[in-house]
Amino acid sequence: MASESSHSVYYVPEQSKFPFFASIGLFLTVFGLGNILNDIAAGSPVMGSTGIALTGFTILSVILFNWFATVIRENHAGLNNDQLKRSYVWGMGWFIFSEVMFFAAFFGALFYVRQLAVPWIGGEGAKGITGDVLWPEFQAAWPLLVNPDPTLFTNPHDGLNVKEWTPGFFAGYLPFWNTVILITSSVTLHYAHVALKAENRKRLIQWMVVTVSLGLIFLGLQALEYIEAYGHYGITLNSGIYGSTFFLLTGFHGFHVTLGTFMLIVMLLRCIKGHFKPDDHFGFEATAWYWHFVDVVWVGLFIFVYCL
């Protein structure tokens, strides 16, 4: 019977409770979050709303955990044929593409304000009349240290952006070290992958530990960087468009690094538990792609947010 030789048959899972309850979890999460934000705006207590959001998030996490566990179990049980594995590959690939487009929106916003909006408000370019009539005091500059209307958006402190591009400068420049760290972590992850393919489990685990550590160090430095920005430079979410673009770009990147690090930790644990075969380790590869993607985004950030 066809069902006996199910290895060559595309695996269509039976009914599953995961999706439906994951939807409930997702719904409660965002519904709770929405309520939290509106409570804060209205000055009401946020306890109840936080409860909803946390319940939702817990449900969602538990389900996703079990969902992935099930997929892994099915793979170990030999239910996944090559074709299904290709589906996962396509799925992950297009998911990363969607993430690229998400960042593209924020990069697009950055380019737009730098090239068009801020110069116009400053009286330059095709719509420079804006500045002449409405903002006679305002001078276009990047980083934007003096906002068009400082009463609404607090100006950052002075002293930002004295970049000299000397070796000494780089030595003390956090973003530079973060770049080094993240690129290195991509390399170490690659070596872990090589080790996995060479069936050298010990190497694999060593490289994975190094990669995870680099990820964590990056996050730590990024936190320092934020403290510096908020405390020292007065760059905040509320300090005008420079802070807005800076924090949303680096913030969403940081969020992705967090997720990526979490995924790497899971992969590390799975490596320790003896998962993955040299020719069958898509979970590992997907994580690796994700990590490389996060790395590439950082390079873009380093160039466009920090350097230029």
Partner: protein, 526 residues
């Protein structure tokens, strides 16, 4: 273990629908959901039309009117049309390419179940303090940020999870098409519906994240003090529009490309003649998709872009008429010297070609920048997009429903009622939207609850048409239910001239199909 259960039919009771991984069940749920949303969005539209029946304020407050306009647009676009196409994709793509199911069945169910929750949250904003979103479906900042009702937060999150659903759905479609085709089903042998969906899914994955990004910026402007859309902090309200329309324009093609696919299946069937110019159809679809990324600012001709920008977006927009024209000509050439019959699906398909083209013509008129200065934000635009969306996208959905109903249910639908539905819809829709061209040209702005006296006549006609069209849709509901309950047994082939793998399986299509790939000799060039 589970391999044995494979040949079982569906599970019993509610759990069949909640926990299903079957593409046909999920497809049906999408279709029912979208129909419900169509009635809901249509009901909002009828509130609009009732208020606009006469000058003066009769039924609703201006603020509520704006909520109706906004919700009508959002529910129709995201709740009715898009899920309906996803439903068809779920049902038909595996059948058309000879696959046992969608590539990622569990995620498929998740994509669906997010939607009812997202819309429950969206629609519930109408009952919140301060009212629901009232800033139009295009939610321009700062009306949608600084000046928005508190419920905007839930609107934003609803858009987020809806977007997640769309992205997962599209990933599934792409993986299915690229990975699950039966042996012998080469790309250039795929039915056009599959092709158009492949390209649509690509568009979705490219633009939904941008929408997510822009609503996220709104969220931060509202709750965390950022200044993306405020000049006082160096931002720009127009930035919002660029980002929105980078999503929004491809979005309108997301709502029409699958329609092209449907019509390209139906016309050859009832003309009993192969589709003319298959290859050029594929290339035209791809060109439209490509162009759709570089024309977004034609929605923003009046925001005061620099001249070079205006010219670029005008030329690029006009170019879209060329590949779309190729499609229209191909359909006409398919009918030419065929042997046509005019069952309900064909009637809807023919009406689609005519009325969509009409909407396309007004689209080209809108693309001419100086003329758009007069048309923009008037009922001329409303007429344009309803012509491409209602007798465009929605008619194609009706055509699809009639065309495949026998395959889904195993019974023929009631042809007389089908024709009645068509004629009432056809007359209704034209009464409803044709006079809006005149209104717009004469100067009636859109999104207003009350108007000057010279607009009274055509508004009155339009409202009558609206109610006629709206209530005619209940016939469809009736026909579908009747068809599910029984009727004349449908054969596997159903239609004399139909081509493609879906017609090789019995009617109704068994719960599981193509668990083993179909015989390659069944796969013919379209």
């Amino acid at each position: 273990m589970s391999a044995h259960d494979h040949h079982h039919g569906p599970a019993k009771g509610l759990s069949r629908w909640l926990y299903t991984t079957n593409h046909k069940d999920i497809g049906s749920m999408y279709l029912w959901f979208s129909f419900a949303m169509f009635l809901l969005g249509g009901t909002f539209a009828l509130v609009i039309r009732a208020e606009l029946f006469q000058p003066g304020l009769q039924f609703v407050e201006p603020n509520f009117f704006n909520q109706m306009t906004t919700m009508h647009g959002l529910v129709m676009v995201f709740g009715a049309v898009m899920p309906a196409f996803v439903g068809l994709a779920n049902w038909m793509i595996p059948l058309m390419i000879g696959a046992p199911d969608m590539a990622l069945p569990r995620m498929n169910n998740w994509s669906f179940w997010i939607l009812p929750f997202a819309f429950a949250m969206l629609v519930s904003t109408l009952f919140m303090e301060g009212g629901g979103p009232n800033f139009g479906w295009t939610f321009y900042a700062p009306l949608s940020t600084t000046y928005a009702p508190a419920s905007v937060t839930f609107f934003i999150f609803a858009v987020h999870i809806m977007g997640a659903s769309s992205i997962m759905g599209s990933i599934n479609v792409i993986a299915t098409i690229l990975n699950m085709r039966a042996p012998g089903m080469t790309l250039m042998k795929m039915p056009l519906f599959v092709w158009t969906w492949l390209i649509t899914a690509y568009l979705l994955i490219a633009v939904m994240p941008v929408l997510a990004g822009v609503v996220t910026m709104m969220l931060f402007d509202i709750h965390f003090g950022t200044s993306f859309f405020s000049a006082a902090g160096g931002g720009d309200p127009v930035l919002f529009q660029h980002l929105f329309w980078f999503f929004g324009h491809p979005e309108v093609y997301i709502m029409i490309l699958p329609a092209f696919g449907i019509v390209s299946a139906i016309i050859p069937t009832f003309a009993r003649k192969r589709l003319f110019g298959y290859d050029s159809m594929v290339y035209a679809t791809a060109s439209i998709a490509f162009l759709s990324f570089i024309v977004w600012a034609h929605h923003m001709f009046t925001v005061g872009m620099p001249l070079a920008g205006q010219l670029f977006f005008m030329y690029a927009t006009m170019l879209i008429a060329v590949p779309t024209g190729v499609k229209v000509f191909n359909w006409v050439a398919t009918m030419f010297r065929g042997a046509m019959t005019f069952e309900t699906p064909m009637l809807f398909a023919i009406a689609f070609v005519v009325l969509f083209t009409l909407g396309g013509f007004t689209g080209v008129m809108l693309a001419i920048t100086p003329a758009d200065f007069q048309y923009h934000d008037t009922y001329f635009v409303v007429a344009h997009f309803h012509y491409v969306l209602v007798p465009g996208a929605v008619f194609s959905l009706m055509a699809a429903a009639y065309y495949w109903l026998p395959k889904w249910t195993g019974y023929m639908y009631d042809e007389t009622l089908g024709k009645l539905h068509f004629w009432l819809s056809f007359i209704g829709v034209n009464l409803l939207f044709f006079p809006q061209h005149f209104l717009g040209l004469a100067g009636m702005p859109r999104r207003i609850p009350d108007y000057a006296l010279q607009f009274a006549n055509f508004n009155w006609i339009s409202s009558v048409g609206g109610f006629l069209f709206g209530f005619s849709q209940l016939i469809l509901l009736f026909v579908v239910i009747k068809c599910i309950k029984g009727g004349k047994k449908a054969t596997a082939q159903v239609w004399e001239g139909a081509q493609g793998l879906e017609w090789t399986v019995p009617s109704p299509a068994p719960y599981h199909t193509f668990e083993t790939p179909p015989d390659p000799s069944l796969i013919k060039a379209q």
